[in-house]
Subunit: 262 residues, 2 copies
DNA sequence: GGACTTGAGTGGTTTAGACCATTGCGATTA
DNA sequence: TAATCGCAATGGTCTAAACCACTCAAGTCC
């Protein structure tokens, strides 16, 4: 369609619709992929390279993008398979466990390690303790139907929850906080951004190093407004999607439509 | 074709510390990068390759990841430069314009095109109209301090907003809806996931094809609960970060800590 | 039967080199 | 002076080839 781009970069009398080979190949593979049901296998890289008359490097670049988009799953030594789409996670102060169950998934969670260390100044400020105070660091691996989905690293202020390290396990952390300390969560501040998997994360997630990830940071407070935890979670970008329900800041006065202006 | 589901293998115990060269190089480059102020330049690919004794391909792979993380900016024909960190956008029913202003940024928005087309069944359902009804499609390019940040594609039901296509421009769409139709936004459902830039999007954003993107889909309703728009936005993953404030579903009864269980 | 070995096939990493496209600047020219 | 040209440097794409690491099943051995 005619796209008139006002003052944009369309000078150069010779505008080449430069389309890299690997991109064109990607679209042809996507086409080919539509005929494959989830879990089905694709030809090997070498076969694709000779079939489409390109080098294996180019095939790999196209496959890499399809993989990053979650449309392919690749298993070293085994093959390339059609992906299975994304799960969604509600952006609210609710339970991973419940969210997954409501999607008909079987959620599990395992504690990777629990360590006590000293808070640096930044972390101390976040947790409302003094620099150098003890902090409990928990790392959990979350799965859905047995498939690794996310790595969650929580940090909690031990001075506020003495003995907490003796209570934690594979079960509910929030349950422990409630039963032993009477603490309930009130609100949290959460940020979402993109990231790439580190080799260690990739190994745990059955993912590839450098894979697309969604990085969530959550700063939770109890019902009295005191900080409870600082959490950093990495979710597989090829399998996850977050959902939020947004509500208009106020009912109706003059300022509303100004605040909603776009 | 494969019958079994791949990718469920999770090893434990023996883990060869296999560290690819490009990853090790990436960390060394990150170190080198700390000594460079934002906007400063790095040596060329060929220079780095010979300096670190690796091939240019390996250098490019390391640089590609750093770029995807927003820590580098690369300009074809010019060089490689240190990045400038991410902006944040509040996840609420507020204005892009106001958000940017509150961060001291100068936001601008330009209308790329406005077209009228027929709704397919799915879109019609989302917008509360009949399949085949007219839909106004708006594409906007959003910038901060002149730098392209996002492409936003909105779709609105024309039967509900007759003549809307004559009112829209570079200005506030929500303002137009309020002034001409008395419509204010009530709530919206928003999903966030990762995506890769298409060549067209990349060209508009001054980005690279295949770059990391945050894909936002928003379904907005007015204060009466009627659908107003369906928006699909792609934000630069290397420059953007989203923030949400989460509130505990309800005050206090027995079910609360159960719902908060993790 | 059960445990082990082996090897073919797969994806993963790395190399060296060629060529293309864009940029920016210095030298040249009108 | 001002515009243009040329060219070197930069990043982008692509190839061909080698080797590594992992998987899986067929074959072998006890």
């Amino acid at each position: 369609m005619g796209e008139n781009l006002p003052g944009d970069a369309v000078e150069n009398g010779k505008k080449s619709p430069r389309t890299p080979k690997h991109w064109e190949l990607k679209e042809r593979l996507a086409e080919l992929l539509r005929a494959v049901s989830p879990g089905g296998s694709l030809p090997g890289e070498r076969a694709l390279a000779s079939e489409f008359g390109v080098s294996r490097t180019t095939v790999r670049k196209a496959l890499a993008e399809l993989t990053a988009e979650g449309r392919l799953t690749r298993v070293h030594g085994s093959g390339t398979f059609a992906g299975e789409g994304k799960l969604t996670q509600r952006l609210q102060l609710s339970s991973y466990t419940e969210d997954m169950r409501s999607h008909g998934r079987r959620p599990t969670s395992s504690l990777l390690d629990a360590r006590i260390g000293a808070a640096d100044p930044e972390l101390a400020a976040l947790l409302g303790i003094r620099s150098g105070d003890d902090v409990l660091r928990l790392r959990r691996l979350r799965r859905a139907d047995g498939e690794p989905m996310a790595i969650e690293t929580s940090r909690l202020p031990l001075p506020r929850f003495p003995g907490l390290d003796r209570y934690v396990g594979d079960g509910s952390l929030y349950g422990v906080l409630y039963q032993h300390y009477g603490v309930e969560l009130g609100h949290a501040e959460e940020t979402i951004e993109t990231a790439l998997a580190t080799p260690a994360e990739a190994a745990l997630l059955g993912n590839e190093a450098g894979a697309l990830m969604l990085l969530l940071s959550r700063h939770s407070f109890d019902t009295d407004g005191h900080p409870v935890e600082w959490v950093r979670s990495v979710y597989r970008g090829d399998r996850y999607k977050f959902v939020a329900t947004l509500v208009s800041p106020q009912s109706s006065d003059d300022s509303v439509h100004a605040r909603l202006e776009r």
